[in-house]
């Protein structure tokens, strides 16, 4: 339940949100990032709506001892702003701005059968895997 059905349904709801909001369309994402040109502000409402619902639900999380189907909440505890966080956000920002894809919409778009999506996802997986292996190798 907690490992299979819940994540599957949550992924489905999350992906439906990406599809309905238009975030699966890189042109719409780039239209938002293009603040000095012809600007599409839609992404503000996507983030705003998402943050509002998550924040409301998070109040409930804080009053709950443990998740319904798991032993504990796995929530990041770090609060420091380190160089890795900053450098990673910069690299991600450049990549996001170059193609208009971030990880969620890219994975959701795999079902569209478009070669360009496969190319992006393959490169994203390669980058993530390279980092993961490098970190594991370094210990």
């Amino acid at each position: 339940m907690g490992r299979l059905l819940v994540p599957l349904l949550c992924g489905l709801i999350f992906g439906a949100g990406l599809a309905i909001s238009g975030m699966v369309n890189p042109a719409k994402v780039l239209g938002f990032l293009d603040v000095t040109g012809q600007w599409d502000p839609s992404l503000i409402l996507v983030m705003g709506g998402g943050v509002a619902v998550f924040a409301a639900g998070f109040l409930l999380v804080k009053r709950t001892a443990r998740p319904v189907f798991a032993a504990k909440f796995e929530i990041p505890t770090r609060r420091d702003i380190d160089p890795r966080l900053v450098a990673g956000a910069v690299l991600f920002g450049i990549g996001w701005g170059l193609a208009g894809f971030c990880p969620g919409p890219a994975l959701t778009s795999l079902a569209f059968g478009m070669t360009k999506v496969y190319v992006f996802v393959a490169a994203m997986v390669a980058g993530s895997l390279a980092y993961g292996l490098w970190m594991r190798f370094r210990g």
């Binding site: 299979l4 909001s21 238009g22 603040v35 599409d40 990041p76 990673g88 920002g93 569209f112």
Partner: protein, 142 residues
């Protein structure tokens, strides 16, 4: 600046569904719905920690299939060519691992729980994304 293609109602409804899927995953399974983290946990995989990650990604893919059936895939426009897509994918892959998150983990969940790291990372990738588009469209592209 000229405002075009603004779709406030679908944007807000879609955004709220993204928030709902994220908070349900936390309340029920105790996990943060950060997509780069969910994918990254499989690269390389760890035994006993794969099922929920694959299930969530499968859920995303199924909703994409729903969009193929109910939505308009012909409206999807990917301007970037292959070399640019490869560069962008590598940057997104490495950057989200190095920075511990993307638009979902930092943007929705991080800001939603007022995490300083989430707020700072979101401001940076939003700002850098805007600068990148400015450079590619209005400096190089013009």
């Amino acid at each position: 600046m000229e405002i075009v293609n603004f779709t406030p109602v679908p944007a807000l409804i879609g955004g709220m569904l993204i928030g709902l899927g994220s908070v349900l995953l936390l309340l029920l399974s105790g996990r943060i719905a950060g997509i780069s983290g969910i994918l990254g946990g499989l690269l390389p995989p760890t035994r006993g920690d794969m099922t929920w990650r694959l299930a969530f990604i499968a859920g995303l893919a199924v909703s994409g299939l729903g969009f193929v059936l109910l939505g308009d895939v012909s409206a999807i426009v990917i301007e970037a060519d292959t070399p640019l897509l490869i560069a962008a994918g590598l940057l997104v892959g490495v950057g989200t691992r190095l920075g511990s998150g993307c638009t979902s983990g930092h943007g929705i969940c991080g800001i939603g729980r007022l995490s300083p790291r989430g707020i700072v990372a979101s401001c940076i990738f939003l700002g850098i994304g805007m600068v990148t588009v400015f450079v590619t469209r209005h400096v190089i592209g013009s």
